[in-house]
Symmetry: C3
Subunit: 372 residues, 3 copies
Amino acid sequence: MYLKNTWYVACTPDEIEGKPLGRQICGERIVFFRGPEGKVTAVEDFCPHRGVPLSLGFMREGHLVCGYHGLSIGGDGQCASMPGQLPGGVQAIRRFPAVRSFPVVERYGFVWVWTGDAELADPGKLHHLAWAEDPEWAYGGGLYHVHCDYRLMIDNLMDLTHETYVHATSIGQPEIEHALPDTQVDGDHVVTRRFMQNIKAPPFWAAALRGNGLADDVPCDRWQICRFTPPSHVLIDVGVAHAGHGGFDADPKYRAGSIVVDFITPETETSMWYFWGMARNFKPADAELTARIREGQAKIFSEDLAILEAQQRNLSANPQRRILNLNIDAGGVRSRRVIDRLLEKEQQERAALRKAREAKGAIDSTSSAAPA
Amino acid sequence: MYLKNTWYVACTPDEIEGKPLGRQICGERIVFFRGPEGKVTAVEDFCPHRGVPLSLGFMREGHLVCGYHGLSIGGDGQCASMPGQLPGGVQAIRRFPAVRSFPVVERYGFVWVWTGDAELADPGKLHHLAWAEDPEWAYGGGLYHVHCDYRLMIDNLMDLTHETYVHATSIGQPEIEHALPDTQVDGDHVVTRRFMQNIKAPPFWAAALRGNGLADDVPCDRWQICRFTPPSHVLIDVGVAHAGHGGFDADPKYRAGSIVVDFITPETETSMWYFWGMARNFKPADAELTARIREGQAKIFSEDLAILEAQQRNLSANPQRRILNLNIDAGGVRSRRVIDRLLEKEQQERAALRKAREAKGAIDSTSSAAPA
Amino acid sequence: MYLKNTWYVACTPDEIEGKPLGRQICGERIVFFRGPEGKVTAVEDFCPHRGVPLSLGFMREGHLVCGYHGLSIGGDGQCASMPGQLPGGVQAIRRFPAVRSFPVVERYGFVWVWTGDAELADPGKLHHLAWAEDPEWAYGGGLYHVHCDYRLMIDNLMDLTHETYVHATSIGQPEIEHALPDTQVDGDHVVTRRFMQNIKAPPFWAAALRGNGLADDVPCDRWQICRFTPPSHVLIDVGVAHAGHGGFDADPKYRAGSIVVDFITPETETSMWYFWGMARNFKPADAELTARIREGQAKIFSEDLAILEAQQRNLSANPQRRILNLNIDAGGVRSRRVIDRLLEKEQQERAALRKAREAKGAIDSTSSAAPA
């Protein structure tokens, strides 16, 4: 169960550099490519001619050319040409059954897709990411394909208790489980906060302090502020500051912090695309540092995959089993409730839309019948 | 949907050289082996004793011996012996439930099998292949196992427009799509013809001209004459001749041509055995040339596999989707219509056969009941 | 179809040395571990918190700790602690939904599990293995995971005719199929005996004779006495003796013999865990000999796997096909009849148990309702 009338991250620009990209999102097999003016286009990954995936094709002058018989798709997502058609065949080609086109927006260094009702796709509804447009910030990240329900990843990120067990050698530390999290809901947003005082910085954060030119062997205050935003984004303020200087609010000269960025895009009911990364506002021009952070994060985040996939297999094998929702699970539980509420709203929205379409269809057929 | 009352290529003689071969054809798991007088035999790949595939066994004096407990099958497809049976056990062994036997014919360098009603299996219905018995001709080929409906391969071979895209570096050239094909149906046979005049020979054919001692840098005429014959054979006259000398009908001193041979045998609804090859009537004794052509063809034909298997996956995932039948698709479309018509005929044939069998059964049981 | 109210071998002690082991047995996903006093514990492999397999966790002071959020399971199989719970949370933790616990017994060098009704689990019902507690005997063995119905392995072991075909280079010899087996049933036990006189010792046994300091090039008597014991154990007296000295009953100075030990534990309807080994009462302290025998046996027993898995695939693809039960199959056929009879008995037993539980439940609810 995932929302369809919403924007999900589909890919990053490097993935469609000079070639098409086939990716299944929310159950839809989609091909992404950059059209003639560089505008990203997304259509069904199904050639209207013989059904071959268009993503097996290639780019020619901004058109996506099917690799089987050469049908080409233009930047408007419509069939533009087909070999062997008679002169004047362009008219005929325009009457080819359309491949479904999906609204896409390129923003914040990502390509976003809307797999639901196209008429509702409003770029204004995109999650605003201030750091992504601020030159004082740098971002680095990656992508994992994970075989689990996307909500298991939301649970994971909205409860960082697991760091002590899953990431024991990098960001985990026993103090995490002694600091109880506090969860707040504000409309569609859920925030889970956890603060630790006077602790030793764990290896990842000790390295970050050193990277910032700060002592790594003094008592620190640590924070984790997990923010869920629909449909399935979790952005987490994380960091440490030398103890007693205000923690999260400390002056930059005492702190090392950043935002863990998680965009979770459903592929099917039990698989998803996990776009992870880190945004930071220190040394934003230091590409070598970006690469090093990215490498460390890739290793840490890969530790979750085996756990989540085994969890999915166990839940699939025991569909009737209930699991526990403890205090530490509040962040995930509340986020799921937001999703459930929005799913219900979406269902009503789609029913209304269907009704409106039928009414419009009735009027259209009446008026076209009039001349007779 | 495939015809059952027809002959399909099952294997080549080298595949049953001194050992049995297990192969699924038209949904039937069959084991092929050479019996005591060298006659090819085909029976269910299921030992009547404990169900182990007989193809895991070995040959002993023209008998196929099960690799588990040693039951042996003779050249008549009947159980011939079984270890540990009491003296006089041969009578008992003959009463073992029979493994189903399939009609087979060895001809033209292939083993052909009939997986439908055995009483209708007539070797006279075999597709006649004159070149296969003519010493002026040589043949070389291979086998691919492809995970797609066998009809997708027929479509592929009856429309060579795809050469420009799938085989761009060997036999494809832009002129193909400017030469519209012409399709003719004659009873159960479909022929699609395409001619190109005054073109540059593409790499594969330039090499063939040189191999024939002909200039490869002069304008040429090129032909592709695709002939569909039920159940699923596509034989294609292909070649080039120096321009202006009659093309397909040119004198051998101006031309390089051959027959692309495609025997397509269904394995399941969505997989098949693709026996491909090339028959030529120049330098038939040149085994080194046969090997070189075969190697080139293997590479070219392997380029289709990824496309066809991705097409199958896309069609299976979208069973309700219609695809386009354009002018270039006429060859495949007409061939499928022949198959559909023959499938309908076969269904009637089988119903009549069933009725006849029941009538015969009724008479038999009446007459055997008579003495009482 | 397998018995559930019985003891199966689950694992060997080395598999739970300092770490948990996840293994599916009789359709149940179970995690085995050694609790605080070293007692083996078995519970569902499903963390009651979020459903992650507990077998991905680790041992800490005799407790099994979940690798995701740190819930711990004690030696009694109950949840013992959970990070982040409020003071006094132990009471709450004890109210966590219990993970199902399975009766286990460690004996004879194996861990045995009871996957049926726990109240019927009686260690006294364990198959008694005298050799396993006798210092004059040594044992070595291994484990194979095989994708077939466990009963196909019983068939295999209760009819050694297959040795001639499957194990031709080690223990097979043509004489086996000339010596007809004799099968006897005694209650739940089935014994199939086969004796060969004045034969050449096959390679495996020739080596065993030499290992015992005996001539390997003299005529021998050979025996195979296969003993089936429910639920699915096959222990086989095997060996050779110099001819004319009494065969199986010969004085040790003329014989080399041992017990082939086979514990067959169902995993699913079509897969199983095969614990194989050999118990011998010569040179019991010779660890190097144990290792050498084990290595030879591992090779021989691996030869059966491909056959059995192909047999299973063939039977699954032809569910309606009947197979033959010949004289040589009597051992397996009779063993299956014992299993079928016990399955029927078990079903009655479970129905009675269900009724008793319901009656007890009714009384309990009546008495607890009484004060009201």
